[in-house]
């Protein structure tokens, strides 16, 4: 079921304008929090809401905040807007089309954790998003919501937009902190976790854009209200990004627990004409493939995990029967081989090796032993052997595809290629040569 908690007004009015945003009740949460609630009360409501992190792992935000040691060191909040997992584009929409909601979420959350300096980290490719966010912060400062003595209170907060510069790994929270510190984006060894030693070795909370965008409505309506929406163990809404072979790709904000089928068939309009569903990668390129018989799985953290895959950040890629499972694996592996930061050997070397084997399979030069070779490589790279989860991400889809579509890998290993492979859209005029000579 659609429920527009974070996306209300998008596409109808210009929420980038603070006047419009306020006229619809915007910044009421800042007023409620700062005028009527103590920081602890705000944090308690977020805990009561059981708001689970929308960046992938689903860790409860209230619990994460409670890990900050109270030892007098400054505390920081870093917003993860690196959004780079192939298939996810919900954070970009929030940043570009509802920037004040994020600012409001950052203010309420910073107040709750006692932080006076927050960083909104945006991937470098979000040129427009960074400009929009910068303007939103200026408007918020003019209106007295950001800066010294917010709304006449004792509370002060500075917020900066910090742009990445092209590196998927900076979405991993400790690599993100390195990047904010002006370094290469290499994940840190954990522990210590960011809550204990994060930005500038101080206690730090890292939450993703969508998580923080849930906070204003929790402040306004209470944690119990939020906890009552959707699945009891994964309450709230989730903005699902859906793309690939569906009629209406886009972002759809759904109540947690909405069946996958409703998203694919109703909201996204079903599979393109004349074709049928082959598989869905529900959490982008790094998730185990799901098949048509799993369409009744509820879209929430636990149900998707029980189904053998992941809700993750809900970047669903839908593939119809023309899609080659081997080619999908190759594209994914090239991505991870390219994005590996190079620190761990299994990830750095393994992804390149898998990519090479997949490339020869896909190109019809496969060898009969390649399927077994891939199976053993999945075991060698995955299973938490690396410093950060990217190593696991790199072989999750492959591992699932080797089980679900083994026959395709075997056929490729015997020198066959798919007749249709990954098809170009019939509408793309790629074959027409006339514009080239003009």
């Amino acid at each position: 079921m659609i429920m527009r908690l974070l996306t209300d007004g998008i596409g109808e009015v210009d929420l980038r304008d603070i006047g419009t945003y306020r006229a619809r009740g915007g910044y009421r949460a800042v007023e409620n929090a700062l005028r009527r609630m103590s920081p602890k009360e705000v944090a308690d409501e977020v805990s009561a809401a059981n708001l689970r992190g929308r960046g992938g792992a689903g860790f409860p935000a209230g619990r994460k905040w409670s890990f900050l040691p109270g030892d007098g060191r400054p505390r920081y909040l870093c917003v993860n807007g690196d959004e780079s997992e192939p298939g996810s584009f919900n954070n970009r929409m929030l940043v570009e089309d509802n920037p004040h909601l994020l600012v409001e979420g950052v203010i309420c959350s910073s107040y709750a954790i006692g932080c006076s300096f927050a960083v909104i980290y945006l991937r470098g490719e979000f040129y427009e998003g960074a400009a929009i966010m910068g303007r939103a912060l200026e408007q918020a400062a003019e209106a007295g919501y950001v800066g010294e003595h917010i709304l006449g209170s004792d509370y002060s907060l500075r917020i900066v937009v910090h742009r990445g510069a092209g590196a998927y790994i900076c979405g991993e929270e400790s690599a993100l902190l390195e990047s904010i510190e002006g370094k290469r984006g290499h994940p840190r060894v954990k522990p210590p976790f960011p809550a204990v030693a994060g930005l500038y070795a101080s206690p730090t909370v890292v939450n993703t854009v969508e998580t923080l965008c849930c906070v204003p409505s929790i402040v306004n309506n209470g944690g119990a209200w939020f906890a009552g929406i959707g699945s009891p163990k994964s309450p709230g809404t989730k903005i699902c990004s859906i793309s690939g072979h569906v009629r209406r790709p886009g972002n759809y904000e759904l109540v947690m627990g909405t069946p996958l089928r409703e998203l694919v068939e109703e909201h996204a309009g079903g599979i393109r004409d004349g074709h049928r569903l082959k598989m869905i990668l529900p959490a982008g390129a790094s998730s185990a493939a799901m098949t048509p018989d799993q369409l009744d799985t509820p879209l929430d953290f636990d149900a998707m995990a029980a189904a053998g895959s992941l809700l993750g950040s809900a970047g669903l890629i839908v593939c119809d029967e023309t899609t080659c499972a081997v080619k999908v694996a190759l594209l994914g592996e090239s991505f991870y081989a390219h994005e590996s930061c190079g620190k761990c050997t299994p990830c750095r070397e393994g992804t390149k090796w898998v990519e090479k084997v997949l490339a020869r399979l896909e190109g019809g030069q496969g060898r009969p032993e390649d399927v077994d070779l891939l199976k053993s490589l999945v075991g060698e790279i995955g299973g938490g052997k690396c410093l950060c989860p990217l190593g696991d991400f790199a072989v999750t889809y492959l591992g699932s595809a080797l089980k679900l579509f083994e026959d395709e890998f075997v056929a490729h290993a015997h020198g066959r290629t798919c007749s249709e492979r990954l098809q170009a859209r019939p509408t793309a005029s790629v074959a027409t040569g006339e514009v080239l000579s003009a």
Binding site: I10, G182, G244, H245, S429
Partner: protein
């Protein structure tokens, strides 16, 4: 001098620790001269209080920083899954056949741009574009200017894929 000293000072002051200014200043340098020169690296290092060798290694780590001036028209096409499924490989191959590719304009591939609903998505100079087709992107790299057939990639809304479903 690549950077404006007054602006640099103001940017350093935004952060609790100086070294955080490395990426913002590298961006500023690239905006001003189109790439990251040795001179820029020296200035960033001095402002951030870190060795120039460290700034260099940061520049090479992040793919969006360039060490050379790019052509005036630069198209980066997403090659990740949803865009590949929409024919990104074929589009790139066709564009690279066009006369002038490599000199007057460049066509590169990049990974997912978080605009998969607008597949084939791309970045033209510094703006997100998509959905790209051959006619539109050929015009873009040949004539530059407004994106023409390649509509700017706004976001799709939620509830109805407002602009997101705008594909034929």
């Amino acid at each position: 001098m690549v950077l404006d000293p007054a602006e640099t000072k103001e940017m350093v002051a935004r952060y609790p620790e100086r070294r955080s200014v490395v990426l913002p200043l590298l961006w500023r340098a690239q905006e001003r001269i189109g790439y990251i020169s040795d001179e820029a690296i020296g200035e960033v290092a001095a402002a951030a209080g870190v060795p120039a060798s460290e700034v260099s290694s940061v520049v090479t780590f992040y793919t969006m920083f360039r060490r050379e001036k790019p052509p005036a028209r630069r198209l980066q096409v997403c090659r990740s899954l949803s865009c590949a499924m929409a024919g990104a490989d074929e589009l790139v191959a066709a564009l690279r056949e066009m006369p002038g590719c490599g000199e007057k304009f460049s066509v590169e591939t990049v990974e997912c741009l978080a605009a998969c609903d607008r597949a084939i998505a791309g970045i033209y100079n510094e703006g997100l574009v998509g959905p790209l087709n051959l006619a539109g992107s050929a015009k873009l790299v040949r004539d530059g200017g407004a994106a023409g057939a390649a509509a700017p990639a706004g976001s799709s809304g939620a509830g109805a894929p407002l602009e997101g479903g705008g594909r034929p």
